[in-house]
Each structure stands twice: as structure tokens, then as C-alpha cells.
């Protein structure tokens, strides 16, 4: 019994861990906050239950309200949306979207309904995990409501289909503002706008115009523009040149997944969707957030991404000490290298990783 407490204590004294700066909360800030929890499909239930276990080991002041949502439902149930409106914060696993099935994506529907216009992914090399690229520290801020995902398609004549991509000044401006604000508040030095305005002159031209206008209000932050195909090429060869990237909807999807891939994989990168009133935290980049059947059967899904996103959520809810403890524990597990799931080249199950994280909490 002593061993369980001795090891973390020993580790605490042996590692260079300084107490974080005192955060002076307002009185009664420790009242438990309610957070909507959506397990989702595929590996979703596995990774969200990982978060619940770790939070109870942390004794974090969070009360989860779980709701069942599946990708096959025609729309998100009313009571789930009500719950999110009430709690303001949600954490969710991936929802599967049937391909070409005539059912529109529930992930996209939720974001539009709650006006979560910014999607953020933080792609960063983690110590202890060898990847081909070093020095990656990119935050991708992606417009989440319009662009190519407007869902406006129709068949003109049999054999010819049109899809509308809508870009508005209102949405482009607010995502540019969010990106620059994020850079300013988090001490980031550069914002890069990703576009294809040499071909789509009006649409991406409008996006760029909005970014340029906002850039003028932040003279201390460097701003540049890059065409999306060149951007992907540069990401693969020289990722150190990027800092914060702001993109419209579709390019953001590609760039976020590429950046996540070079930094170690989408199983590790935290992220979330945020709007003026609500925030939903989930695995940062969308590839693989539902996983495949084999991983679900063998229970070898990687919970790190959702754990780090839940740390972001704790910070968002103004519980920075819990967030730091969780993040440090996860970083220690990755650095040790003994509990890697299949996507990182190891053989551990989700439960192994969760146990390791709990053991590393101080």
C-alpha cells in the first residue's frame, strides 16, 4: 500500500517540478461545474471514459452529464443541445458520419447550431516520442461554419453536380480576429493565412482581405500568407517556420491533419471548438476520431488527445492547477515511453495508459 504513494512522491522530488504561480480565485470558485459529456461512436466511449476515470482520480470539481448521441441519428437531440446551452462546456468523442449516405454530419451540425466558429488544434512534438520532424509547434485556427462545408449541393442535370462554397466577410473577420487574439494572449509571434486566392480570386480573396485588415491592428505580430499547396509542401519539409495558422474551413481540415501527423499523430493533439457562448472540446484533428473496429475491439485507442483537450477544458473553466497536473502527468507518461498505444508504435491498451497517467499524477 505504501508503494502506491511512495513512487509518485519519489518522482515528485526527483523531477524538477516547481509549484505553479498562485492563482487567486474568486470566492466559491470551487463549486463543481457541470460539463456535458457525449461519448459518441467507435472509440469515443473508450476515450471519454478514460477522461472520467482520470478526473475522478484528480478530484476535479467537474460533474459530467452524459448523453447518448450517435452519428446515425437524423439530428442532435434537443435535450443535448439544451444541456450544452445550460452548462456552456462540453467534452465529446467523435461522431461517425456515413459516407454518401444522405445524412449530414452531426459534428458539423452541432458546430453550426451552437455557432462554434473557431476550431483550434495545437500540434506539438511531445518529449520522448521520436518523430521525423522536430521543432513543430503549430496552432491551426480553422473557420468552422461556412466555406466548403455549407452543405449546399444540388444536381443540375443528371451527371452534373454543383456544390456551393460560401465565404462571408462577417465569418472571415471573426475568425481572423480570433486567431490574432489567440496569438496575442498566448505570446505567439506569427500568424500565417492559408488560401488559394490565385485560383479562387473572389472567395479566398475576401478571406485574405479580412485577415489583412485585422493584421493591421496587431503590429507586434508578424503576418504572412501562403498558398495551400505550397503550405502542405512546407509543412512536410520545414515545419518550424509556422506558428499560428488561420484558414477557411476545408484547407483548415487538411492543414490541421497534416500538422498533427508530422507532430506525432492525431491521437495526441488536443483541440476544441469555441464560439461566443459555448465551447466543445474533442480530439483536435478529425482524422481517426472514430477509429476502426479493430481498435474498438482490442480497446487500444489512444486517450492522450482527449486527455490533453480536457486539460484545455479545465483551463477554460479556470481550474489551472488541475489542468497543469493533468498535463504534466500525461507528458511524463509519453516521456517514459512504456505505455504507447498502437498508433504510436506500442501495444498498450487504453486502460494501461489511463493507469499510467493516474499513477503519475501528483
Amino acid at each position: 500500500m505504501y508503494r502506491r504513494r511512495l513512487l509518485p512522491l519519489l518522482r515528485h522530488h526527483l523531477t524538477q517540478h516547481y509549484r505553479s504561480i498562485t492563482y487567486m480565485p474568486r470566492p466559491a470558485s470551487a463549486t463543481p461545474r457541470h460539463v456535458t459529456l457525449i461519448p459518441g461512436d467507435g472509440i469515443g466511449p473508450l476515450v471519454t471514459s478514460a477522461v472520467v476515470s482520470v478526473f475522478s482520480a484528480l478530484h476535479a470539481p467537474i460533474i459530467f452529464e452524459p448523453y447518448e448521441v450517435h452519428g446515425t441519428m437524423p439530428s442532435v437531440p434537443r435535450d443535448v443541445i439544451e444541456s450544452i446551452r445550460r452548462n456552456k462546456v462540453c467534452i465529446k468523442g467523435g461522431l461517425s458520419t456515413p459516407v454518401g449516405g444522405g445524412v449530414s454530419s452531426l459534428n458539423v451540425a452541432m458546430r453550426k447550431e451552437l455557432d462554434l466558429f473557431a476550431s483550434l488544434v495545437h500540434c506539438r512534438n511531445m518529449e520522448g516520442l521520436t518523430t521525423r520532424h522536430r521543432g513543430v509547434d503549430i496552432v491551426v485556427v480553422r473557420e468552422n461554419t461556412e466555406g466548403e462545408y455549407a452543405g449546399l449541393e444540388h444536381e443540375v442535370v443528371p451527371g452534373v453536380v454543383e456544390s456551393l462554397k460560401v465565404i462571408t466577410k462577417f465569418c472571415s473577420e471573426r475568425i481572423a480576429k480570433y486567431a490574432f487574439e489567440y496569438a496575442y494572449l498566448n505570446n505567439r509571434k506569427k500568424v500565417t493565412a492559408v488560401h488559394k486566392a490565385n485560383i479562387m480570386k473572389l472567395a479566398d480573396g475576401l478571406f485574405l482581405e479580412s485577415c489583412r485588415e485585422v493584421a493591421q491592428n496587431y503590429p507586434g505580430i508578424e503576418y504572412n500568407e501562403i498558398i495551400v499547396d505550397n503550405c502542405c509542401m512546407q509543412l512536410v519539409s520545414k515545419p518550424e517556420q509556422f506558428d499560428v495558422m488561420v484558414t477557411p474551413n476545408l484547407y483548415g481540415n487538411l492543414v490541421a491533419n497534416t500538422a498533427a501527423g508530422i507532430a506525432g499523430g492525431t491521437g495526441l493533439m488536443p483541440g476544441g471548438n469555441v464560439g461566443p457562448d459555448y465551447a466543445i472540446f474533442e480530439q483536435g484533428a478529425s482524422a481517426g476520431n472514430v477509429g476502426n473496429e479493430k481498435i474498438v475491439e482490442q480497446k487500444k485507442a489512444n486517450p492522450v488527445a482527449l486527455l490533453l483537450s480536457s486539460a484545455m477544458m479545465l483551463r477554460h473553466l479556470q481550474f489551472p492547477s488541475f489542468a497543469d497536473r493533468l498535463k504534466t502527468a500525461v507528458q511524463r507518461v509519453i516521456k517514459e515511453g512504456k505505455h504507447y498505444t498502437k498508433d504510436l508504435g506500442g501495444d498498450s491498451t487504453t486502460q494501461d495508459v489511463v493507469d499510467a497517467v493516474i499513477a503519475n499524477l501528483d
Partner: protein, 373 residues
């Protein structure tokens, strides 16, 4: 505006539907040209040296082909200094006729002159020659170390429609709409070419890249066409990969992919991503396929005016594109010979141009290549 779009699209689709059956025969490289090669002994090919470093690297290609005794005669055409009213660009009608006649061409880097009143050179070539597929073979060059050593894939990109239709308009102030068009005819065409290519080059797997979970009708139509063509080639494995998954898998493990077939925008991004995996555009070959079996191989890098004329340029991209052209002409043994020579020379490391870390000049590199043949 809407009526204009409908009219334009209807005109395209009706034109193509009637000539579809006729053109299906002439789609791919027909046996008539190989017969011509056998009887005449040589094939004529159009060569556009281009601007900047173009002429130097074109010379390099001509020298290597002569040393390898490839039965090709070059017909050189240059970009004019005035706008030809028949083509509305700096490319003359004669140049385009020459490509249509010869069926094969090689194009160096062309700098589009700045100004209005004319179409860009690439756009002219694409529209006039109806180049519907862009093929980029990406394989790691042994000897030029990048972070990825085991890349061996081909990206085939639909080149005429999709998001690049150029149909945009401002609805009200501050709201812009851009149309993405996918037609059955164009998707079938590029899918047919992809599977045909896979079969003739001994490739085992074709992956269609899409985002049909979000853009259900447009990418859904593309996928339907790919599935139809896949049924005709049961020996080739066919799979569908969502584009964000594809991007991630490409940067984590590019060996998972073989032949990729994609609509226009995704193709643009993925083919440049793959070029980045192997070392950049300076080393990547590319070939545009047109209706009637026309193949126009090109170097996709820029014209680099700062090193033009200094004998410093790297001819690898243009040479590898010329090899792709040879493969299209089914001169596989010559193609293999030249490709092996290129790979051996770079792998050896004694003669490398400046951009890949060596110090040789273009002429030294070319000479070393010829020695390796």
C-alpha cells in the same frame, strides 16, 4: 448568372456525351503511334524549352536522349513575344498544332508574363489540348536524403473541373459564392485513366481520395464513378480514403499508398504534399494527359531567372518528366535505362547540382549521367 452556368454546363455535357463512345477508343495511347515508331524508326515530339533555366535543362535532356539512342526527334517551339489572336496568349497556334499532331510533348518551366488581355500559358495549354489528368509519380531518390525513404506512389489529379472552375460571384457585399462542379463524364474519364495506368504499370492498389461525408453529392458522384470503373478491373484493389485521413497517413507512413486518384483541389494539395515528401518541386516529374492520348510532360518548378544561364540548374525534374513521357510511349526499356542512370548518379554523390547539396554544374551532371547509361 444561374442561367449562364446551366447553359455552359449543359453545352459541355451534351458535347461530350455524343462523342463519348467515339472518344473512348481514342482515349488512351493507341497502338497506331507505336506502329509509326516501328516503321519510321523515330517519333517526333514537341519540345518547349521555356524561360529562365529552361533552355539549359532542355539541352541536357536532348544530350541524354541522344546518348541513350532514344528514337525521338525534337520539334522545338518557343513562347512568342506577342499575343497570338488565335489562341489569345503568347503560345502560337503552330505550337499547339504541333503538339496535337505529335501527340507527345515536353515542356520546360514557363514564366507567365504579367499583364492583362491574355490567358495564362498553362491555362491555354490545358484548355486547348483538353488535358484532363495530371500524373505525378513520386518516389524517393536514393542518395538524396529526406525524412521519408520509402515513398513510391503516383498521384493522378483531375485537371479540368472541380473547385477550379473559376465560377465565382459576389451575392451581396461581403458574401461571395464559389461553385464546385463535378460531372460524371470528367470523373469517369480520370478514373478510367487511373485504373488503366495502374494496370499498365503493374500497380496493385488504387485509392480514391474524397470528402464525401461532408460534400455528399459532389464527391459522392466522383466516388460512384470510381466504383463503376473499379468493377471493370477486379485484379486491382480499390479503396476510398477520406482526405484528412489521407493527409495524416501520408505524413506518417507514405508506403501505405500506391496510386491515388482525386478531384482537382485535393489533387493539387496532395500532389504538392507528395512532392514535398521526396524533396521538393525541383525533383518531381509530372505529365498531363489529354484526350486522344496526348501526353505533355512538364517540369513543375519555376523558371529560376536568378540562376539562368549560369550552368547551375538541376535538370532532374525535366529528365524524370521525359522518362514519364517515354513510359507513356511504351518505350519502357529506354525509360528504365535513363531512370536508373539518374538514380545511380544521384546516389553516388560525386556529381550533384547545387540545390541538392553538391557542387557540380549542369553540364558535369549531364556528362556523368551519359557515362552511367
Amino acid at each position: 448568372m444561374a442561367s449562364q452556368i446551366v447553359r455552359r454546363v449543359l453545352a459541355r455535357s451534351s458535347n461530350h456525351n455524343s462523342s463519348l463512345t467515339r472518344s473512348l477508343d481514342r482515349f488512351f495511347f493507341s497502338s497506331s503511334t507505336t506502329a509509326a515508331a516501328a516503321t519510321n524508326g523515330s517519333i517526333t515530339a514537341t519540345l518547349f524549352p521555356g524561360d529562365g533555366i529552361g533552355p539549359e535543362i532542355a539541352e541536357s535532356v536532348k544530350l541524354v536522349f541522344k546518348s541513350a539512342e532514344v528514337p525521338i526527334e525534337w520539334e522545338e517551339h518557343y513562347v512568342g513575344t506577342e499575343i497570338d489572336p488565335r489562341t489569345q496568349s503568347f503560345l502560337t497556334w503552330e505550337s499547339l498544332e504541333s503538339v496535337r499532331r505529335n501527340r507527345v510533348g515536353l515542356k520546360g518551366p514557363m514564366a507567365t508574363p504579367i499583364g492583362k488581355g491574355h490567358r495564362s500559358l498553362n491555362l491555354t495549354l490545358r484548355k486547348e489540348l483538353n488535358l484532363y489528368a495530371n500524373v505525378r509519380p513520386c518516389y524517393s531518390l536514393p542518395g538524396y536524403k529526406t525524412r521519408y525513404d520509402d515513398v513510391d506512389l503516383i498521384t493522378i489529379r483531375e485537371n479540368t473541373e472541380g473547385e477550379y472552375s473559376g465560377l465565382e460571384h459576389q451575392v451581396v457585399r461581403g458574401v461571395v459564392e464559389s461553385l464546385k462542379i463535378i460531372t460524371r463524364q470528367a470523373s469517369l474519364r480520370v478514373a478510367e485513366y487511373a485504373f488503366h495506368y495502374a494496370k499498365t504499370h503493374g500497380r496493385e492498389r488504387v485509392s480514391a481520395i474524397h470528402k464525401a461525408n461532408i460534400m455528399q453529392k459532389t464527391d459522392g458522384l466522383f466516388l460512384k464513378c470510381c466504383r463503376e470503373v473499379a468493377e471493370k478491373y477486379p485484379e486491382i484493389t480499390y479503396e476510398e480514403v477520406i482526405i484528412d485521413n489521407c493527409c495524416m497517413m501520408l505524413v506518417k507512413n507514405p508506403a501505405l499508398f500506391d496510386v491515388l486518384v482525386m478531384p482537382n483541389l485535393y489533387g493539387d494539395i496532395i500532389s504538392d504534399l507528395c512532392a514535398g515528401l521526396i524533396g521538393g518541386l525541383g525533383l518531381t516529374p509530372s505529365c498531363n494527359i489529354g484526350e486522344g492520348g496526348i501526353a505533355l510532360a512538364e517540369a513543375v518548378h519555376g523558371s529560376a531567372p536568378d540562376i539562368a544561364g549560369k550552368n547551375m540548374a538541376n535538370p532532374t525534374a525535366l529528365l524524370l518528366s521525359a522518362v514519364t513521357m517515354l513510359r507513356h510511349l511504351e518505350l519502357h526499356d529506354k525509360a528504365d535505362q535513363i531512370q536508373n542512370a539518374i538514380l545511380t548518379t544521384i546516389a553516388e554523390g560525386k556529381y550533384r547540382t547545387i540545390d541538392i547539396g553538391g557542387s557540380s554544374s549542369t553540364s558535369d551532371f549531364t556528362k556523368a549521367l551519359c557515362d552511367h547509361l
